[in-house]
Symmetry: C2
């Protein structure tokens, strides 16, 4: 009979690194059948979960364990930002090979803890099991005042379309990572954005509190894939202009445009604002640049006004894991 191990090393590592105890909002975290969380009075709870799988969303050889820990929470929390909410706590489902339960796990959990502290989202609980590949699913709970969540369905013809930050920067960083051998040695802004994205939580909350955005979502799969989802949710179309896109300066113009249109993992916010309210929108919010990139149209088509003045249909070239089996991100 093999040696019994009732508290697997993974759970011990999680409890050691997170040292979760009782807090006012989490009277019980880790170590029991389930966690207990106290929702704020009068708030709605925002719920989201996000896969982060080896070979699909990251490469073990390319992505540092700490970046995987950071990013699995950051990207899940980006959905809370996209509703205009405030993150509260998360659950970690982690499956990994036995041989990664040492240094790799420690580095992963410290990256996750850094994200948890930076974002203000406490660990509530989770589940661990062994598997041949590293499998991660993160569930995040956030909160918002009832009626204030910004949905994908609120865009109206004539609304202006905005994006935060720089588009395609993370893709440019991933391109650098692909070209390097093994794990990254240095990280410029683009690579940092790919490895350690920062969800636009402050901007999302600001837009929800001021009731400025009519529709919103986060850009995870690329503008050309995500914009049709927002338009479909609202039953509208959109026309964007190449010349308006806030592209990265870390690539040549052609590539920067490709990245901005089709690159994923930016976790910027894409939102619409009525023309009347657009006047109230400053060029920056909490240090994040806002750029008008086009407008919402009645006709349910996604059109791109290119640099030669031609209006062409924008086809999804961003990342769809069920389509792009080879295009690992």
């Amino acid at each position: 009979m093999k040696k019994p191990r009732n508290e697997p090393v993974v759970i011990q590592a999680i409890e050691r690194i997170f040292r979760a105890g009782r807090s006012s909002t989490l009277p019980l975290a880790l170590g029991d059948d389930a966690a207990l969380w106290r929702p704020s009075r009068g708030k709605e709870t925002i719920l989201t979960c996000d896969w982060f799988l080896e070979g699909t969303h990251f490469f073990r050889e390319k992505h540092p364990a700490g970046a995987i820990g950071w990013k699995c929470l950051a990207r899940a929390t980006s959905d809370i930002a996209a509703m205009g909410g405030k993150p509260s706590c998360f659950l970690l489902s982690l499956a990994l090979p036995q041989r990664f339960t040492g240094k790799w796990l420690g580095d992963f959990l410290r990256g996750l803890r850094r994200a948890s502290r930076s974002i203000g989202c406490e660990v509530a609980g989770g589940d661990t099991t062994p598997s041949e590949r590293i499998l991660i699913s993160v569930t995040v709970l956030g909160e918002i005042h009832p009626g204030r969540a910004i949905l994908r369905s609120g865009a109206r013809p004539g609304d202006l379309l905005y994006a935060s930050g720089t588009l395609g920067e993370a893709e440019s960083g991933f391109e650098q990572l692909r070209r390097q051998h093994g794990a990254p040695r240095t990280a410029n802004a683009a690579l940092r954005k790919h490895l350690y994205p920062r969800p636009r939580l402050e901007l999302g909350r600001w837009l929800a509190e001021k009731r400025l955005a009519s529709a919103m979502m986060d850009l995870s799969d690329g503008l050309s894939s995500d914009l049709p989802r927002l338009c479909s949710g609202s039953g509208v179309g959109a026309r964007i202009e190449t010349g308006l896109l806030p592209v990265t300066s870390e690539a040549n113009r052609h590539q920067a445009l490709e990245f901005a249109l089709h690159g994923g993992d930016d976790y910027e916010l894409l939102f619409t604002v009525s023309r009347r309210k657009a006047e109230l929108l400053p060029p920056h919010v909490r240090g994040v640049k806002l750029t008008c990139i086009g407008q919402i149209t009645r006709e349910p088509k996604i059109l791109l006004l290119d640099e030669k003045g031609a209006l062409i249909p924008l086809r999804p070239g961003g990342w769809d894991p069920f389509r792009d089996k080879q295009a690992i991100r």
Copy 2:
């Protein structure tokens, strides 16, 4: 360029089969960046997530898709029962090969929907992505009055130890399934318990409402693995008696005892009751049999009084996925 597919077939199937709309507790489910859930006023939220992985927790060739759908929610909800709570909604993280997005997915989702309706736990959202194996993680939210959750940490020396239902029955069913070729043809009570477990939600709530149990957990990995967790949580030991165990009649005595001690997947409740309150405990609650199987001791050892009257240490022989790499469940 490949054909774009913005609404993957998996999401369409989920939306078609669940037809999730707006309800009073779920003003927004499926189809946006995140879901919106309205917690009941003055209640605490119970949070839990559970892996259910092909090759680790089920075999695709052995387990019908509908049973996989049922069981992934039922077993996650069992953790809500183990706290004495009421389930409210769930999130589904589902990764599967493209070739299973047809009939297999439909059968899986219909099994999941049956569990969802039977348990009273609505779908709130989820995430889907392709993978070589079928990967499932389910997050369940439940509710309970503040202070009423029954933790693992409340057992005191002298408390009596109880189990609900029959122990080892699911393991006996799994044993039948292992012996059969391919998928099951007929299902007796034991096999049904393995394939379609019913979390003891009514019993859990009854015990919490009546404040009868001092500690509680659900039996998922087997009594000999789970009892030490409850004892460790409470800083106590336990002595159980072979002769008291509610064993299955679908195996010979020796095997039935092995199943009851070490078999997993029962999703029965294991709980402790002070001697004073034990008088108030009926033999059945909501049709579920309650059996006193031993008592809590001050000395932190797990001992078994066997049928010959010998007191022997009970070693974990239940299921620990990080230990039992071969013992697939």
